[in-house]
Symmetry: C2
Subunit: 188 residues, 2 copies
């Protein structure tokens, strides 16, 4: 095999942050596809929210958006249904080795998850510490507990180790985060 | 007041399709805002699904989408939580006086609602017959029943009168469709 500009094979095959081929979003989307295909759960990523300013209607079927802007999401990225329960979560990666910066999650996303919790839905965040090669699920009640009792702008890894739950990685589903929800439903 | 091109006042104030100021989507969004503000339910319209081809990054905060395309949605427009239950629906208007054309709803949206029903969620469609000034809620099981037992490409109004439930219009919420869900949950 030829590698570009004489880069040695070692530098390509050994990835910087663990041997993972995909990012967190792809891992979750793949897992959700598995859940859906097996009729286990129907959980979808919402489309990116935008406002559309200009559209070219070449034909009725073939409209092209010519100007649009990203807008701040009012809810989380993922929601759906599992075992009759409403599921809602946000997923974020961080390159930090020590803590997860809270600025990664919008305030109204936290408010949204809190509301879901109060309405007896299941809300959480999934946080991947890329350099630690660890992916945690942290329920909204534990996230709120941290925020209410700390002035810090980021959540230390120790808090995830203590209150979060490690999501094990496998082949299919890539991230079996619903296994954690099983225990949660039983214990509630 | 001046009216354009000598049109008489009567022709402007009397709207063609009833005295409604807003369309179905606006009515539902307003109702959902009411439900959210009163902590009754959290139900959102999903953003329009698009694929983005070109983005101009003037600055990090001010990205402008320069080319994007609409894509066929894989799920319905609305979902959320009410009384701990997962809610999922599609809303459509028709100008027909006699029937609702099934081509208005994508096959995979019907498949999606069927899946939601099988997973113990609550799935339905809201159909407004604009010229009849009537808005119906039809549960997915009744929609499937029609599709499975008829070769017709549209659902006659009589079926909505028989199996659907009229959503009464009010001031706030504009369309109190969750009242119908109350009865449904009790009867299930």
């Amino acid at each position: 095999m030829n590698y570009p500009k004489g880069i040695k094979k070692e530098f390509i095959s050994v990835k910087t942050y663990g041997n993972r081929g995909m990012n967190l979003e792809e891992d979750i989307n793949n897992s959700n596809k598995y859940y859906l295909d097996c009729n286990i759960a129907a959980i979808y990523k919402k489309p990116t929210p935008i406002t559309i300013n200009k559209v070219d209607y070449k034909s009725r079927k073939d409209a092209v958006i010519k100007e649009a802007h990203f807008i701040v999401p009012s809810t989380t990225d993922y929601n759906g249904i599992y075992k009759g329960k409403y599921i809602d979560f946000e997923a974020k990666e961080t390159k930090s080795m020590t803590s997860f910066p809270l600025s990664n999650i919008h305030n109204h996303q936290i408010e949204h998850l809190k509301r879901i919790y109060n309405m007896e839905g299941i809300g959480f965040i999934i946080v991947r510490f890329v350099r630690l090669d660890k992916t945690f699920l942290l329920f909204i009640e534990d996230l709120l507990n941290f925020i209410d009792n700390n002035d810090r702008v980021s959540i230390p890894v120790s808090y995830f180790n203590d209150k979060g739950i490690i999501i094990k990685e496998g082949l299919n589903p890539r991230l079996d985060y619903l296994k954690i929800i099983d225990n949660y439903i039983e214990g509630r």
